[in-house]
Symmetry: C2
Subunit: 421 residues, 2 copies
């Protein structure tokens, strides 16, 4: 049982969507890179195992951020008085162009990686920028920090400003070089990242489709985020039946290639049917959808129809990296959607949103996001003693308070069985 150990504390997790499982004063046993089980007391056969005792603190699965732009963390909370396409033009694109300077990129990514490592997030799907050297630097920093992430060098060869563009040939060649140069990293892996359809020519998409099949890579992009964007895609791709079809025509929409699509605020029935058929993951990013005035995705509907859904911070469309914040944003937005748009879809509950933030998004990484036997061990220990109240709280109430009120910083964090702090 080399490397085996046990954790002691108050466990909370969601084995199924909407189901909050609690194990007060429980003991989790971890062996051979997987959770063996969660017990009321340490079973006889594990006597002698080292036990890390977190007393009365809460232990939750590590949170999963299915969509964030590492290269945008430097300007989170800025330019928020703009809608998506203006914000891209006036804030995001000029800022991302700075990442051609490797020294700037290293400084910016160092701030981002420190914040991510300190947060309750253990896994993330990240956009870098189009710049290969900066993307590699980000991947190395994340790997060294012990994070498990998919990171994408962004591809974009049209509708981009001069300061932030690449030709189709450059984009494809740089992508191949990036894949070669990032192959040695242990825990941080590449993910194909066409920015979104308006930024990618058909030729680029076709080339990325070939690379995807050659290297068996996962993919990430944006889908049906904003109404102006959806109309633009319809103009750009007259042969696509709907936005998602423009990815699917190049094989970049799930199926053999695990794919995560951010937003899906305005996905219609056909697009949703294809997402389900292809097993496409939806990264729901409620704060970003508010900040850039996109709308509210019908997340409860996604869950009811059996879509695979996780949460994303979408920094810097979202200003906050905390996935606890994404949980409460998702719940709050779902309540407004119920009230203002569609009373047929009830609001999300805390156990549903917590599920999306852990096991829902975690599935993109394998058996991640739960404390069930066989799962990898991603865990965050939350100390709620800094949230004083005169009121005695049950364990379920303590979980709700941590999600709504904590600053999102765990006091201990395990990623794939390794304690980071």
């Amino acid at each position: 049982m080399k490397g085996a150990f046990a954790l002691k504390g108050n466990f909370a997790y969601t084995p199924a969507c909407g189901q909050l499982a609690l194990k007060p004063h429980g003991i989790l046993v971890y062996e051979d890179g997987r959770v063996t089980g969660l017990f009321d007391g340490l079973p006889e056969r594990f006597k002698g195992l080292p036990v890390e005792d977190f007393g009365d603190k809460l232990i939750l699965p590590g949170l999963v951020d299915l969509h964030a732009h590492a290269g945008q963390y430097a300007y989170r909370g800025l330019g928020m008085d703009m809608e998506l396409l203006s914000w891209l033009e006036h804030t995001a694109f000029p800022e991302e162009s700075k990442f051609s300077d490797l020294a700037y990129a290293q400084e910016a990514y160092s701030v981002f990686v420190q914040a991510l490592a300190r947060s309750a997030t253990t896994r993330a799907c990240l956009f870098a920028t189009l710049h290969r050297p900066a993307t590699l630097a980000l991947m190395e920093m994340l790997d060294q920090a012990g994070m498990r992430c998919f990171v994408g060098k962004v591809n974009m060869d049209r509708n981009s400003p001069d300061i932030l563009g690449e030709t189709t040939a450059q984009s494809l060649a740089e992508t191949r070089l990036w894949l070669e140069q990032s192959a040695g990293l242990a825990h941080v892996k590449p993910i194909l990242t066409p920015r979104f359809i308006p930024s990618c020519t058909d030729e680029l998409m076709a080339g990325l489709g070939r690379i995807q099949r050659e290297f068996a890579l996962p993919a990430q992009s944006h889908l049906s985020e904003n109404l102006s964007e959806v109309s633009w895609v319809a103009q750009l791709c007259p042969n696509a039946r709907f936005y998602g079809d423009a990815y699917d025509q190049y094989g970049l929409f799930g199926g053999d290639c695990p794919t995560v699509m951010a937003h899906c605020v305005w996905s219609g029935p056909e697009e949703r049917a294809l997402m389900k058929e292809r097993g496409v993951f939806i990264a729901h990013c409620p704060q970003s959808n508010m900040n850039v005035s996109s709308g509210i995705a019908p997340v409860k509907g996604f869950l009811l129809e059996g879509q695979r859904v996780g949460l994303g911070s979408d920094v810097a469309g979202g200003a906050h990296l905390s996935i606890f914040r994404a949980i409460t944003d998702a719940i709050q937005c779902s309540k407004l959607r119920w009230r203002l748009v569609d009373q047929e879809l009830s609001a999300l509950t805390l156990p549903e949103a917590l599920y999306m933030a852990t096991k829902g998004g975690g599935a993109f990484f394998g058996q991640v996001g739960s404390f069930e036997p066989g799962y990898e061990l991603d865990a965050v220990v939350m100390d709620d003693s800094a949230l004083p109240t005169p009121r005695p709280c049950t364990l379920a109430e303590r979980v709700e308070r941590v999600v709504y009120l904590s600053d999102g910083q765990p006091c201990a964090k395990y990623v794939a069985g390794r304690r980071l702090f």
Copy 2:
């Protein structure tokens, strides 16, 4: 010039709605309990004045919370999966009943007052509970902490559970005793607080109207928060033309009696016209309106028609006491309202929401919430060095980052010219 001093730093404030005024490396002079002016350098005639130099930090007007329930802070972030009337029945009312125990109330209010004093809020309109001794204890604690607040003993004599009710006679007698006993406080003042129409009989409202005129008291309550509540009021008050009219019939709707009404999510044209005519303040509480599924108030419309609007945390319908959070919630909700409900009303901008959080709500307290000459000095000093970015930021961008990203805790705070920390 006894008690006069100067503050040095980077000032930002909103002299008019939507107008962000900046004075980088400015000097504010304070004399005789009022701001004398904000200068580029210390004018000759003030040489020798003690200067508190905050270097490169930001100095903003203290924030104003126009609506919060001090007695609900103990259970903020709990029971959030319920709508308003259920949440009142299952969470708020049982919890408030505990405040009949003065020792419990002292413990709970001590936690609340510490959090409020530490926050960027300098003025607040607060609901206590119906319990007179606990309400007096809260007022004394706030007074000692140096906060300037209006606090209300809650009145409620119908549709309340047995554990949290009072008869009409009790409610009126206790109110008079509370006014007598709180008369000696220097900075914390009483405000008449009928809970909301469903909780108050006509007889109680008539009695409160008499007390209001006798003592020239301000008043606070709830208005048109939630559709179920609005229908209930229509049933309860068949003679009222609309919800606000049910207050107005007893003289408790502005005019001679400065009044703040929380929410106004569903106020119709007649109600809005009367609010404007009577100068009623609207406390916009976006987070609470999300949490209890109320909807989104047409705040931009309120501003355009010249209503008096401030922001409220509405703890514990809102989970967070921070008015910075209320600013961003207000902006985000206004974007969703634009997108989903009414594209005629554009989204709120940061300078509009910051205005509501300072000068807009501050007007309820007099000349409060700005750094213009003649204003009382409420100021918070914000240190944004804990929000690292590799990107140089303008002063306006630093303000936006503090509002969106800071933990809401100033490093120095002045209330009515007195430095609290």
